[in-house]
Amino acid sequence: MKKLEIIIDYVILNKLLQKLDELKVEGYSVIKDVMGKGSQGNRDGHGLMAGFKNCYIMLIVKEHELEGIINGVNPLIKSFGGMCVVTNVEKFVSRD
C-alpha cells in the first residue's frame, strides 16, 4: 500500500476531491488552512480570499490505484502549484 500526501492551493480543493471521487478513491483526510512557502510564494493564510493558503490531503491507496491518481492530480499541481509525495506504508490499521 502507498500513502499519498498532497499539498495544493485551497481554492482547488473541491476540484481535487471531485477528481478523487471520479477515480473511485474510497477515503481521504483533509486539513484546511495549511501555510507554507513554495513556487507560489509565501502562503501565509492571511486575508479573506483563500488565494494565499493551501490544504493538505492524505490518502492510503493500493499500488495498482496509484498511477491513475497521480495522472489525475498532476495537471492540477502543474497549473496551481503544490506537491504530491508518495511513500510506502509499512503497517495499516483500519476498520475494514
Binding site: 486575508g47 479573506l48 480570499m49
Partner: protein, 322 residues
C-alpha cells in the same frame, strides 16, 4: 476640499482602526485577527447592509430612477473591465491584465460600507437601491475578465474549469448569496423585520466595521511591501484607475440626476476594486495569473487610497457639481 475634510475622515473610528492595523503590520506586531472571526464579521457586514438596503428599497419602491441606477451599475460593471484590460495589456501579459481588469471592474463591499459610514458622518442619506447596485456590480466583471483572457490569450493552457463552473463561482459565491438573500429578506420583512433585527444590524454595525477594518489594515500592511517591488506602473494604476472610474461615475450620476448620497455611493462603487470575490474566481479560472499582483493591488493600494483620500475627494467633487 480642505485638510479638515480629510482629517474628519481619518478620525472616523473605522478608518482610524484601519490605520492601526497598517501600523501593526509596519512595526511587525504579532496582532492577528483569527480568520474565522474575520470571515464571520464580513458575513455580518454583508447581512446588515443587505437587510437595511432591502428595507429601504421597500420604502422607495421600483421607480424609474431606481431602475436606471441599476442599469447604469450593470453597464459600468461591463465597461470598466474592458477598458481596464486594454490599458493593462500594454504593460502586462494577457492573463494578469484580465485578472486585474476583472478586480477593478468589480466592487469592494467594505469600501461601500466605509462610504456609507462617511455619509452618515455628514448626515447624508442614500437609497436602498445602491445596495442592489452593489450586488449587480459584483459578478459581471469576472465573466468579462475570463472572456477577454480566452479571446486574447494565444498560449496553450489547461482549462480545469468550464464556463458553467465559473458562472457558478461568479453568481452564487457566499458573499453574493448573503447580500442578495438579506436584501430580499429586508425587502419582504419590512418594518416588523427591521424592529426585530435592528439591535443586531444597526447598533453593532460600527463596532463590527471597526474591528473588520483593523484586520484589513493588518492584511493590507502585510501585502503592501511585496507589491511595492513590482514597479511604478501597477502602483500608479491602483491610484489613477479609481480616480478615472470615479469621474465616469460622477458624470453618469449627474446625467441620471441622482441625489448627492446616491451619486457618492455610485461613484465609490465605480472607483472600488474587488479583493475577495473576484480574486477567488480568477484564481480558479486563470491559475497562471499571479494572485501576488491582483490581490494586493486592490487591497493594499486602491482600498487604502479610496478610504483615506479618494472618498472625501469624490464627495467634495459631487457636492461642487450638484
Amino acid at each position: 476640499m480642505n485638510t479638515f475634510t480629510i482629517f474628519t475622515n481619518f478620525i472616523n473610528p473605522p478608518v482610524s482602526f484601519f490605520f492601526l492595523g497598517l501600523l501593526a503590520a509596519y512595526v511587525k506586531s504579532d496582532l492577528e485577527i483569527p480568520q474565522p472571526i474575520a470571515k464571520f464579521i464580513s458575513l455580518y457586514l454583508l447581512m446588515a447592509i443587505g437587510f437595511k438596503g432591502g428595507y429601504e428599497l421597500h420604502h422607495s419602491g421600483f421607480t424609474m430612477h431606481v431602475i436606471l441606477t441599476m442599469l447604469a451599475a450593470l453597464i459600468m460593471a461591463i465597461v470598466v473591465p474592458i477598458y481596464s484590460f486594454f490599458i493593462l495589456k500594454r504593460k502586462l501579459d494577457v492573463k494578469n491584465a484580465g485578472a486585474l481588469a476583472a478586480c477593478f471592474g468589480s466592487v469592494s463591499v467594505v469600501t461601500f460600507i466605509a462610504a456609507g459610514s462617511l455619509l452618515k458622518m455628514h448626515m447624508i442619506e442614500y437609497g436602498g437601491e445602491m445596495v442592489a447596485a452593489l450586488a449587480i456590480m459584483e459578478s459581471p466583471a469576472i465573466i468579462i475578465g475570463v472572456w477577454l483572457i480566452r479571446k486574447y490569450d494565444s498560449s496553450e493552457h489547461d482549462e480545469h474549469h468550464t464556463m458553467k463552473e465559473i458562472f457558478q463561482e461568479a453568481f452564487f459565491n457566499g458573499s453574493i448569496m448573503v447580500l442578495v438573500g438579506s436584501l430580499l429578506i429586508g425587502y419582504f420583512s419590512n418594518e416588523k423585520g427591521m424592529t426585530i433585527l435592528s439591535p443586531f444590524t444597526e447598533d453593532l454595525f460600527k463596532g463590527m466595521l471597526s474591528f473588520f477594518l483593523l484586520d484589513m489594515g493588518v492584511v493590507a500592511g502585510k501585502r503592501m511591501k511585496p507589491l511595492l517591488e513590482q514597479g511604478k506602473f501597477l502602483i500608479s494604476f491602483g491610484i489613477l484607475m479609481p480616480i478615472l472610474n470615479a469621474f465616469v461615475g460622477i458624470g453618469i450620476s449627474n446625467l441620471l440626476g441622482l441625489p448627492v448620497g446616491d451619486s457618492f455611493m455610485f461613484t465609490v462603487l465605480c472607483a472600488s476594486a474587488s479583493y475577495v470575490a473576484v480574486p477567488a474566481a480568477m484564481r480558479i479560472a486563470v491559475p497562471e495569473a499571479n494572485p501576488g499582483i491582483y490581490i494586493p493591488m486592490a487591497l493594499a493600494i486602491t482600498f487604502p487610497f479610496n478610504i483615506t483620500i479618494g472618498m472625501p475627494f469624490y464627495l467634495y467633487l459631487i457636492e461642487k457639481v450638484f
